[in-house]
Symmetry: C3
Subunit: 660 residues, 3 copies
């Protein structure tokens, strides 16, 4: 993809008269957009009847866009099979957990494993890619749209048979499955793979191993479905391909999904009061994919559907969000949506222009972002985001496991991961990368691995090597206590991890209403959360704190230990948020392992560093204004101001400071 900053919006010319295209493009130019995303729901417009293709409208649109210097991310229209397709091949319709076959008229109502559906998808993509794969307006591709959004998984007979075959490939023999899953429990024992049920609702819970395996299967099925799309696209186009991932709402293994893709993309709908989740999303997209990324969807002011539950974002928020996305490594920011829908069920979503072609509340921010971009574009390419000193693991495989078995009723993966996992690290002021389990860890000073119930043998080997060669690995809370097959270790609480650490777990217990206190080695007292492990027999390890509450009173809460040239830091339970932040900050500071930026909460600092240029992107996210201590004097490229020392930011202000 061309090295430039893209400013884009989702464009649905298929919903309007074609003679309106010129007006739309004129308005896009006025808004300063240089790209659109297009066609992800337009199958019925491309193929109104089986085998009858109509692409002239799209040709016209792409031609006009190109004439105006606007590029297009072209999408495969597979999230929405047309009515004739659902009617002719009802077997392609997804069946949900309650055995209900989806009907036409919505989206994602297809079975991603249906051979018929896959064949018809390949055909329409073939037509699309063949005709437009080398069209000069096309600057990239998107597969489908937000995989797994709105549907949990398909439970049809096709999926059932494929799941059973998938298990057969995984386990070889039914005896192996029976032994691994311990199926004599509740007489689940299977004589043949064909007896394994889908985990549909029944009298009470299914075996955790079954449920986890089923969701892994569903995720791999979707990745395979995408793989088939990629093969067709790449046969006809050299442009890079992505998929617009949702935040970690779903049971989709993005580590797998993005392995096949050329660049990252995230749909980032961020309420201002949870602004720091955007930071996570940009961190995730930047490093996980190790490639440029797009914010493929974001609102210009609020999100809608048939009922909005949020407010217009503050003045300047959308501009700040866009600049910070670029500042954190993004090469594209695309709004959902360009022109307000005139029909359907998302009519009251914010947009760039209204259904009657007038500016919306977000318009000003879109324009001011456009006018800011030329001032910083060269700098951002000259001074890319450097590798961070600290990384944190994120795994959607953990999401599956912790949804299947949350351990305590207050554990909600999405919220807990953000509030108790990522946020305390972020709040130390350190700049950080987010890593998939498969990512390389070489070069990081610290790797932090919270909330990863099962540590895959490959990951453990990699991390052992990492520690032995000098890395610092922070493990926990709630890491390593399950096998990848979602069972309990039987040689020790944490299995091979415990063997590596050499420090035995003593107790493992829930923390619910009753407070469980921890006295930390650095003097503070904190409250443990969720599920706790205590340690015994530290030998040459150094205690980092001990529990002072029953049932683990007097037992060790966490320890650090030198292994090879590196260090293991292992905590038995998460702490209340401020204690967890404080604990991590002490580790980062005491070892002088990482730079901690000094800014008030709500204001973020991102370093940029190239061969000849360097600086910082500083943003006020909480719309309250803030302060930052500038690490080096410099010049704000947006205003030309020279800056040094402690700086005040206005609400939603962004500074892109180059060190001169």
């Amino acid at each position: 993809m061309e090295k430039k900053l893209h400013h884009s919006a989702a464009y649905y010319p298929e919903l309007w008269e074609l003679d309106q295209v010129d007006e739309d493009i004129a308005l896009m130019k006025q808004a300063g957009l240089n790209a659109v995303r297009i066609a992800e729901f337009a199958w019925s417009r491309m193929e109104p009847e089986l085998g009858k293709y109509e692409f002239d409208w799209l040709q016209l649109v792409l031609d006009r866009l190109h004439d105006s210097g606007i590029g297009a991310i072209l999408c495969t229209p597979t999230p929405t099979p047309p009515a004739w397709l659902s009617e002719t091949y009802p077997e392609i319709l997804l069946i949900n957990k309650l055995d209900r076959r989806m009907t036409h008229g919505s989206r994602r109502h297809y079975c991603y494993n249906s051979p018929t559906y896959r064949r018809l998808c390949a055909q329409i993509i073939e037509q699309l890619a063949r005709r437009f794969g080398r069209h000069p307006a096309v600057i990239g591709w998107q597969t489908d749209n937000e995989f797994f959004c709105h549907v949990e998984a398909c439970y049809c007979e096709t999926c059932k048979a494929m799941f059973q075959r998938w298990l057969k490939e995984k386990f070889g023999t039914i005896e192996n499955l029976n032994h691994t899953w311990g199926t004599h429990i509740w007489s689940e024992y299977y004589n043949r793979f064909e007896q394994v049920p889908l985990p549909v609702p029944t009298a009470t819970l299914h075996n955790c191993s079954l449920v986890t395996a089923f969701w892994q299967f569903a995720s791999q099925s979707m990745v395979n479905f995408q793989k088939e799309q990629l093969d067709v696209i790449r046969a006809h186009s050299d442009q890079p391909v992505t998929h617009n991932a949702m935040p970690p709402f779903h049971h989709l293994d993005y580590d797998d999904l993005f392995a096949d893709l050329d660049f990252g993309a995230i749909d980032a709908y961020i309420p201002v009061e949870k602004w720091w989740r955007a930071i996570y999303e940009f961190d995730w997209m930047r490093r996980k994919c190790s490639r440029p990324f797009w914010v493929m969807e974001t609102d210009t002011s609020w999100t809608g559907s048939v009922a909005s539950d949020n407010d217009p974002t503050p003045r300047g928020f959308t501009r700040m969000k866009g600049l910070t996305a670029y500042g954190m490594g993004g090469q594209g920011v695309s709004y959902w949506l360009w022109r307000q829908q005139r029909t359907g069920c998302e009519m009251n979503w914010s947009s760039v222009i209204t259904a009657w072609g007038k500016p919306t509340p977000g318009w000003d921010d879109v324009r001011t972002l456009s006018s800011a971009m030329p001032k910083v574009e060269a700098f951002l390419f000259d001074a890319p985001v450097p590798r961070a000193e600290v990384a944190i693991h994120y795994s959607n495989r953990s999401r599956i496991m912790l949804d299947v078995e949350p351990m305590t009723t207050d554990f909600k993966f999405y919220d807990t991961w953000f509030d108790d996992g990522y946020k305390p690290l972020f709040a130390t002021g350190v700049f950080r990368d987010v890593l998939f389990e498969s990512a390389l860890v070489d070069g990081y000073k610290i790797v932090y691995t919270p909330f990863l119930p099962a540590i895959d043998p490959a990951l453990l080997e990699k991390m052992k090597r990492y520690v032995e060669q000098g890395g610092t690995w922070i493990i926990g809370p709630m890491t390593g206590y399950r096998t990848p097959d979602h069972t309990v270790h039987t040689e020790a609480a944490l299995g091979a991890l415990e063997a590596f650490a050499g420090v035995p777990v003593v107790f493992s217990f829930p923390v619910n209403q009753q407070p469980v206190k921890v006295k930390l080695a650095h003097g503070a007292t904190a409250g443990a959360k969720h599920w706790a492990f205590s340690f015994g027999d530290l030998k040459d390890a150094r205690s980092l704190g001990e529990y002072t509450s029953h049932p683990a009173a007097g037992q060790c809460w966490g320890y650090e230990k030198t292994i090879g040239k590196g260090k293991l830091i292992h905590t038995g339970a998460g702490l209340d948020e401020s204690s967890q932040t404080h604990f991590l900050r002490i580790i980062l500071q005491s070892a002088a392992l990482a730079t901690l930026y000094d800014s008030t909460w709500g204001t973020t600092v991102v370093p940029r560093k190239g061969n000849s240029r360097q600086g910082f992107v500083i943003s006020n996210w909480d719309a309250k204004g803030g302060r930052v201590k500038l690490p080096h004097p410099g010049v704000d490229l947006l205003t030309g101001r020279s800056l040094s020392g402690e700086i005040r930011l206005e609400p939603c202000e962004v500074l892109i400071v180059e060190i001169k």
Copy 2:
């Protein structure tokens, strides 16, 4: 119907031995009742097997009632098909949204579109009307019972095919439907009407236009079902017919339903803490139907089912409720129920007498109401309720649209309509009529139209004429922003309404957690609610306030404008309740357009005015007592007291004051 006040109860002689009828009638006389409602669930008693009719029991009951001077509202027994019917014709059973066929043993388990069911209903009604249509005890009819209560709509194959035909009649061609509904969205596009699905649950939302159309279809189907019943009844009886409407809980277009009926009837179960909803219900029934109305069901003390969630009403409440119903134009008050059920699932509902024939907690109030009636009956007929100066539109078509698309998550039609629509107007102290959209508006000084998302072209024409000829039309909040097909206008935010007003909408945005402030022209500051519109370019209009919050800070919140001989008052957002009341009171007062009665909250004033007599009905509803400033001195017909100036009312006291 005879010009007299009816005092009645629901009577189920089919559930008891016939030799108990005399005891029941003796007790009714003691209670002072002069009417009963009868037979709405008695199909199995009338036709215990297909074609085997048994009416002698009913003959006996009606004869005895007539002998005792007690009239009867006779009901069609169609809400409850007998077991033999469901068994013989299972296709008549309603299928709900979750594709579940209803079973026998409850009520409303039939498909109102089933040709078989309609045929069998016509037969039993024919038998009933032929035999009793001219019985002297029969003073009126009720069709079925509480249409749509307990069931949302039927989703069976018959309904599906009829819905598709209904769409064909409405749109003519599938292309017209596709264009109107914008079906290329999400590739919903239909090749044939036969592809249009029912809006059953699927992966996510259906097109709003589809859902709205389906509920309109269901409503019209029920109206048609009633129409067939009316034809049969009227062939054999000259007595007036009604239906006992529920408050606006359901997706039933009462504007249509009552157009076919001779008098209004409402089932009014009012908890004392929401007492003012009764006022709305009586207003609605009086003017909407422009005819006498009955309170066809009301509790004597509390409501029940298998678990009651409310308390016995205060002493005097039931008497006051009845007198006020008469005072507001009612000609009948009927309790549910006469004798406590001895079986079934409503055994613990309050009644007039217990299952063992003794007085209940409500008995005293029933008796004291009976003894009050003769004192006021002549006056009430001599001095009817006059047309109000102010009217407010109420539309169940809006309920459908706002249930399909509530715009913000806090918008609950039933509560919002009452709390933010009707209540602020009522709270000004003005006497008001409630109008269907189809009602004539001539003669009103002010018409207020809040929460009407789509203004039908016919309504708009009527209101334009109304304004041009001198009326004042208050529009908004949340009025006119959708087309009747539930889509967005594309020429301007409010389409033809905006063209008429001549003042453009600038922004349209949700108001959720974040406060949006309005500075009103009269000096006060208020908070906007739900969904806001801002205006620009007022030209010759006068601003009534402006927003002071992002994103519309500095833009106009509302305006007034002279058009022809009249005035348009247009507000862009509803205000918090007290501000909305204050705003409306200023409008009413400044123009001296309407009389505002001066009473404490909880005490209501209703004017009565005939050729030679006039006065007021004054009621304390909140059971706390209250004060009222009597507009004219007069005499309380209930006690003979002369009254003038400021009066104190005891808890639940009623004054029926004639001006002498």
Copy 3:
């Protein structure tokens, strides 16, 4: 069963390698266990294919247990049919209320009325009992596991046909059913038994009589299913049989179920903050069965499933719970479970040892309980729990009726029974027995009957005789107002009970948000709860209080009356908890009918009395410590301390005091 205290755990050797049995047994000996419960889910291990039996593993386990002096409660494995069974005979799968057929992979997914399933159950039990019925390790049997846990009832076609036959047997003719249930209500009227539906969800509620009858049928079906199991077991074994009852969560008539069993057993999972529910459970199991009982399942520290919602119990709680269970008449305490599950969906439940064979947080308590047992065992057998002076009726038939018709929305049977029924009596300090309706009442000074909507004629006769011969019967709240067929009495509010009492009920009404006050004869003022009855015309009865609130202001709340040699105390409504306790305490004290122990809340006293030895078991349950006034000086057998007067207990301390 041998007269000894059993200390046990649920043991699942079928889930582990057999060579681990020796390690497990060694650890059991270390923990001091002398029993296990075994095999309730092991069908697939016993019969991996139809007719292929494998029992050698169980032989080995039982042999080894016996060698080590550990007894076994052997279970029928019928809660979990193996996969081959569900696959071969899908008709045996339970169909739930929503018409959903359960799938394999969980538990209790069978229809208890399926003839096929019953036949296969009889076969496997025959095999099991034949082989092990006289094995010396086997000290008793358990049928199935927690009947009705996780499933409400089966709604399959078999059940439907059997229910209709059951009704035919009960009512003889359909006319009798129609009349009893009053089926002309809502035209429910049935022409034939074959028309009677199951009470599945439909448009709205079913007739209460139908729903109650269906749940009675389901309960009796389960009892019959158990009966078939008992016949097979007893043909091959002389050991006593029980079933592990749940607390009253389900619609199972334990009065019926335990009539067939040799000893009682309860699964008691008690959160410390609701500790007094354990007391109820032990009282219930002791007297209801009039036989020794086991706590067949209890946690060592917390309960789990895939998400725990509770905390580890305090130090000493598990030991105290066990000692108190023995102290209240228990002869066995068995943990769930021995070794933490390594797979399935209950991996994070507390246990005695971890999956890797190490102590858990509960281990210490298990051990200290074991070491305490020898000190008290002889005393507990020499001085059994005496019959109490006071008894309280408990009926699961009431649970059915009050679940079908809770009368007020705040009435939740389980909580209300405990908080408003049992707890106020318990809180007086009296020692009490809990009785089934069928139990003999001779010998009790007082019998208390709250929350029993329908008094069966047999019970009424028994209680009449009881009162006439000198007993004191406390009736109410909410007792006697329905017939056993779940209908309303028609001769008087309370039917035959009212005739017996001779005092008429005046009003009957709900108590929800609005306070209803009662002025008690002893001077205090209290608030009534749930549903209230008022009395009139006391004649020779003495008022115990009167209502001061509408609608019953001035009417009698309760009365006492001498009948024969005894007394009837009848209350019209329950009171707030402390008033109810106070009221009961006054009755108990004034008549000097019963000993009231004097201890702080959270500390309990249980008397023990034999021919030559007597004393008390005193326990601190709330883990806060407490005080007790020792009725007689004595010696604590656990510590040897002499005790007298007022004693302080440490948190979770137990004293087993023998009066010397």
